[in-house]
Symmetry: C2
Subunit: 238 residues, 2 copies
């Protein structure tokens, strides 16, 4: 019987943070050259990290100043609408609070499992995700909308944007699957709102979460840069 | 301005269940020929459904009667250990209860966010996933172990199997990433326990969840078959 692998780890211990750092080093080392800006690459590499797959970012699109809009919205602590409880539970409150201390569980909104939403879906024969978005209209106006599952919710958001003037700060458009998915992402990309989309059929909760977390990293890093510029300016002034 | 896409859906409404059925029809239609048995294909097609990606099942492996062992364990209502709260929140209690009415939130166990686990990780400089598995040793013996994130937890489970005689009913081995991931799956596949593994770097919470849900489907379907055989036998006997 060979020695269990865990002993190799215990011989030269790595923390979770160490493993994450090594993972990103591996990704940067192995990544093919990409068309992304440095800030976009921060998002893309976290999506690669989350899936273990370099291919996934081939259909990644950024529209209408998505990254800057997302960073600004996170700094203001705007509410975050999620289309699944998996996304809600995958979002790190610690990362969000580091960007804006106002973040708290009640700013992360998911209505897909609400009783009222289930009742309306049952009565109408339409998906719950459709009514979950309707339930959240006031939050979606000015909030960050995160879709990693059903395209029907995203399509209803597009209607709210077109017909009712709803303006999300950022849309993360990563529903997944085989029915209505491809066109739901093409539609949102045409509406002039800040958007990070994974075109095609692929998507999912962890990918959507990874975009939010990458934006948190960028918000922290850019804040550090602003702070250090401020300090060096102060220094210059003295 | 073109008409929002959602109106096309509203013209010929589809429920969530309709969309799922159409999705699986698309997957079955487009899937390349596969080496899987019909029961294995039920697992594989749900993994494709969850990622929007046919490629993902190329490195899918079933070992030591995994599917039958998983179905039997679910029917007994054994506890389910998950390595992330995303998996725990993604698991459908309704699907689990349909297989065994004893399933309830407290049978779905996740320790990665426990205070004690965080404290031990902090003190030792090792990942929380390592201590989360140690915390769950009694549940892992006879339970279903679901890994979709950190390989270190899976490696510690392998040690418990080798050195302490722990025997999970089924291991779903789908940690994701770039450090220790590939070898953690190779190790568990060699230990003689029932296992569904996604070899290589890919994995993730939704994939791990999709395996449990596919096993629920199979448990229900095989139950229906047993019931109808029973009925037809009864009929023959009369």
């Amino acid at each position: 019987m060979t020695v269990p692998l865990i002993y190799h780890l215990l011989e030269s211990p790595l923390s979770g943070a160490d493993i994450e750092r090594r993972s990103f080093e591996a990704i940067d080392r192995e990544a093919p050259s990409s068309p992304f800006s440095p800030d976009e690459w921060e998002v893309a590499r976290r999506m690669i990290h989350t899936t273990g797959d370099f291919e996934v970012v081939q259909s990644l699109r950024f529209a209408n100043g998505a990254i800057e809009a997302g960073i600004n919205a996170l700094r203001k602590g705007v509410p975050i609408y999620t289309d699944s409880n998996m996304i809600r539970s995958g979002l790190s409150l610690a990362r969000l609070k580091a960007v804006c201390p106002d973040y708290a569980p009640e700013r992360l909104r998911c209505h897909v499992a609400d009783g009222e939403v289930a009742r309306l879906a049952q009565e109408s024969g339409l998906p719950r995700s459709f009514f979950a978005v309707r339930q959240a209209q006031s939050v979606l106006d000015g909030g960050i909308a995160v879709f990693g599952n059903a395209p029907v919710g995203l399509m209803e958001l597009s209607r709210l944007i077109v017909e009712e003037g709803v303006r999300p700060a950022l849309v993360i458009a990563m529903p997944v699957g085989f029915v209505h998915v491809v066109e739901s992402k093409e539609e949102i990309l045409e509406l002039g709102v800040p958007c990070v989309a994974l075109c095609g059929r692929r998507g999912g909760s962890p990918l959507a979460v990874s975009v939010v977390h990458a934006l948190c990293t960028l918000a922290g890093r850019n804040q550090d840069m602003q702070d250090s510029q401020l300090i060096s300016k102060k220094g210059d002034g003295l």
